[in-house]
Amino acid sequence: MDLKNPAIMKRLEGIERIIAVISGKGGVGKTLIASAMALTIAKIGFPSGLLDMDFTNSSCHLVLGVDVSKEKPIEDIGILPVKVHGVEFMSVAFYSRGEALPLRGVEIDNIFRELLIITRWSKLKALILDTPSGFGDVILNITTYLPRAEFIAVTTPDTLSLETLKRLAGTYMSGKISGVIVNMSYKSIRSSIEKMGFKVLAEIPRYNDLEGCIGNVDRFMKTGFAEKIEETVQKVLD
């Protein structure tokens, strides 16, 4: 008897918007963008959450500089996310000690539902979901268990990434994409994206200083990258 659905709905009732940052292609910046979005929403004064759904290789905690072996969600009629720079943050990394977590699809499905059932989020303006690459269990679960989730797709101008976005345009998910972020941009591909039927939310260049700020939120939030994300968040929340 699969009965987890009603509880999932209930736990997320107090959350105004659920925004999943997705891309079929890996390494395009989903994790950095999802983390920066959640931090920005908090910074401009709204309650926000971040849930790392890249279960087999979670990495939002590395961006946020959270030491998962020390900080832990508190158990209280469920579990309470860890508060990081104003963001309610949840990740399996708290339980896998940040180790690699080899998982088959059915286990990803189980974790997905378990996490949503036991986590007690506050009333949030937005919950940001970081997702793994490819078109697998996590993306399918988001469409099925969180039908009101919006997608923000990420791409680079590289051929393989752009082709992947084109494929995404041909799927059921495409109707849920509220916009595309072009990351590590070195040439404008706005028109080809608009031809696919998507809105371009931002074109963000590659910043060479960004790498050194991973794990240090204060510095991370002072980068040109964070500035671009702030502009994007303003658009998205409008």
Partner: protein
């Protein structure tokens, strides 16, 4: 005590079914407690009872059956019990919240593979429900 959240998920699910059937009474509710998650039986039972009561649902009989956790290695096909795997307490604590994180910690004692399948006893679920 995140058992309350697990209990609540069961109650939510049961109620959504009751709603569909326009019923207010459960004759028999069979809940399985997989030993991997090591949910506290008494807390879970208490929470289920309280939560059903608060929603005005009468449960004639509530059965909680424990199910032993077994992991099978997909490479050498050997089957392991939880005791075999000698899991430290802090790992047990982590597995209590998310049973699947066991894959970060254990390997097949026979061949070393990490391709282990949880074939029973994962966590808490409704095995059956009679109205």
């Amino acid at each position: 005590m995140h058992e309350w959240a697990l209990a609540d998920a069961i109650v939510e699910a049961a109620c959504s079914l009751l709603n569909e059937r326009r019923a207010k009474r459960i004759a028999l509710l069979n809940v399985v407690i997989g030993s991997l998650q090591s949910a506290d039986r008494e807390v879970l039972k208490f929470a289920l009872t309280e939560l059903f009561k608060s929603r005005g649902i009468k449960v004639e009989e509530l059965r909680l059956n424990e199910e032993e956790a077994l992991l099978r290695c997909r490479l050498c096909l050997k089957i392991w019990k939880l005791e075999d795997l000698d899991i430290p307490d802090d790992v047990k604590e982590a597995v209590h919240f998310i049973p699947e994180v066991i894959h970060a910690y254990v390997r097949c004692l026979n061949c070393g593979s990490q391709d282990l399948e949880i074939i029973s006893g994962r966590g808490v679920y409704i095995a059956s429900m009679e109205l």
